[in-house]
Subunit: 324 residues, 3 copies
Amino acid sequence: MKQFTSVNDVENIDKLLQKALEIKANPFAQQEVGKNKTIGLIFFNPSLRTRLSSLKAAYNLGANVWVLNAGADSWTLEMQDGTVMNGDSQEHITEAIQVMSAYCDVLGVRTFPKLQNRDEDYQEVMFNKVKNLSSVPVVSLESATLHPLQSFADLITIAEKINYNPTEKLTKKVKVVMTWAPHPRRLPQAVPNSFAQWFTKVDWVDFTIVQPKGYELDEQFTQGATIAYNQEEALKDADFVYAKNWSSYEQYGEIIPQEKDWQITMEKMKLTNNGKFMHCLPVRRNVVVADEVLDSDVSIVIDEATNRIFSAQAVFHEILKGLK
Amino acid sequence: MKQFTSVNDVENIDKLLQKALEIKANPFAQQEVGKNKTIGLIFFNPSLRTRLSSLKAAYNLGANVWVLNAGADSWTLEMQDGTVMNGDSQEHITEAIQVMSAYCDVLGVRTFPKLQNRDEDYQEVMFNKVKNLSSVPVVSLESATLHPLQSFADLITIAEKINYNPTEKLTKKVKVVMTWAPHPRRLPQAVPNSFAQWFTKVDWVDFTIVQPKGYELDEQFTQGATIAYNQEEALKDADFVYAKNWSSYEQYGEIIPQEKDWQITMEKMKLTNNGKFMHCLPVRRNVVVADEVLDSDVSIVIDEATNRIFSAQAVFHEILKGLK
Amino acid sequence: MKQFTSVNDVENIDKLLQKALEIKANPFAQQEVGKNKTIGLIFFNPSLRTRLSSLKAAYNLGANVWVLNAGADSWTLEMQDGTVMNGDSQEHITEAIQVMSAYCDVLGVRTFPKLQNRDEDYQEVMFNKVKNLSSVPVVSLESATLHPLQSFADLITIAEKINYNPTEKLTKKVKVVMTWAPHPRRLPQAVPNSFAQWFTKVDWVDFTIVQPKGYELDEQFTQGATIAYNQEEALKDADFVYAKNWSSYEQYGEIIPQEKDWQITMEKMKLTNNGKFMHCLPVRRNVVVADEVLDSDVSIVIDEATNRIFSAQAVFHEILKGLK
């Protein structure tokens, strides 16, 4: 693997999934690959799961790792090309990324969308700048529009729960429903875009996205998914319910008020096929999902978070083993 | 050892003390125990000694370690159960702790009291939440009411200074006096509570607490100690003087103005039996203790700080060796 | 090596240079020296290159490393001796440094000048306090007046570019010109002082400093350099152009307005002997140097930054191998 910026960098999803499950079963067996290698992690935004799971993944691989909170730990970065830097910015991203990539073998980067200019966000201006400037392979720790390590961890979690065996054909597809849910703030579309981009590519999954009118995601990520607008209808027979808020793609970055309450409750979970509740975390309790769901064994959110270690470890492993 | 939240988690103080002294003599000899283990450290408050000594202890054991400054590095945490999270808090502690403990084998946590509601602080609401939610053993890096790694480091320091030999009965008990000292701010009772809780359990120590009226500590920690109110009297014949400020337990969290100056001076040290001066640090110079004491060889505060490595290392060692 | 606070701590520059080149060729070959050793890094100011290159250097040596952002991660430090600490400062530097040095084998420290009182800055009050209080060898990660790890990395870079061979006498000296350049802020003199202090000691270098009147550096560092005031003249035949802004030493910490534009452009680079452009970074684009220079292969600023790993690694190596 040369980089990991979306599912499109994965040659064979099924093989990567098996690799992750193999690594989880035996997490310290690949330390020859990590030896004397350094993974650099740059956060332009706060992080808990991504930061700690990436550290754990690096440790499991016997690799070294450093973390930089861009801004807090270092200088203010200038993002625009061609500017006369006589203002507040102390370093241009051109130098910053070239330098940071000189200090590691793999560079993990988290950027966020500004949710102001859709084109700018969807062109991944910032993330692509980093990718193009880096002298070493880049791993997305979430970008403006995608969060592939999360989606991969979600896939690992579903595979575990159904005891997925790649050599055995499933008699019936697994029904996965991603449902929009409420939230007080304007959130990025990175997690749902990425989830859609992955799960439309998994042939043993029957994938539905349900959301209020006006919350349709960018079609480039949802091709192949069933698009629905009635939450109760969509939840019927679901094996996995993936709840997530996102702001509107159409009215970019906006919150469109809803009359209906889209919060996931136990009553709604009863419509499913003994379905499991999933969320990428952090989750707003009693806004996105009721305590009764999260505190029951219907919830597998901690499994997802735990599998963030192994999605990162599998990706780092595949990239590191390709380096001299 | 299954956890380390107070001296009550220590089966045999003397054995743990010997373990720490053995580790100090040979700090890199236990790396099989730390191999492929990860120690997570969460700070809800700033820290210097605890942070760095815990890192050094982990390194000495050959363990991996990560540090999270809760708040600064990650999300704002919601502490209350049952709330509708449509405000500022982005993640509930329930998920945060379950997730963080999924990324390590031992979880060290520092929490502080708010000094507003005594019951809340003394029930260790926050620390117990962490302890109950964690899927791995928890180590206190100081909680609202206790700081056991500090007290253990203090014990190691005293044992070193008297060349303590567990197989040889001391002819005379060692006199340890903990004295209240002034401070401009309202401080927790964690250090003195914990010191009292440890030293009332050491059978070769004659333990006195001296403080102004109104500064009596919670009796659950001081049973067995001599309680005094006259500082000069109490210091007589002391082998070790442990100075520390704390706010009132009775008038909870308050500072009760004193006419007398309780600062430790060289004149007061002369009342002792060539006693050594101890303090957990950080210390307010010329408020808690005079420069002349701190800058003389009467002071053993740096020894105490150094032994923070070995108290942490002994505790991590005992916990890690109990894990599969 | 007992410490590394300036070039004066280097017994033989040429030997250290060869050591660094040898380490760069084989960066993981010295891990016996770093085993079970811990390098502590304290930053009183933000840092990108120094932080990450020091981490990488430590990792390459197989050493452990911790980083403390003084202030943010820990307590507010009191710097004055003899004060009654009843104000905001929570810990005196006397205890802080003694304690921090107890938790490592080598202590790297970054301090900055305040640019208010020249004597205070040039006496390196803060840095010397740290040096004198530390119980372990101290490495400057930049002090008020010097930045020796940067200058050493610059020397490594020049040596690489000319394929320097210590056993072969150069037929002609290498012409290195350090030129003042504009900047919107009042900057320290540490980098240019240090560069001058190193390059006046390298016998195969012909070293010129060019600056506007009023920007002359402290003569203690520039003895032996050619001092010039006409930038175009000075750049003639230069093999290396080292651009850097600094505030006035004479009118201490001030910016003296210039009519001429001292920015380095491609037109100016054409005056040189196919000279390479150098800068320590971070650099203000189109203020200190034009994009056209920085984005051409005339620029070797990323090489300099990369060599920060090996200047640090060589220094840590020399110090660590001297420890028991």
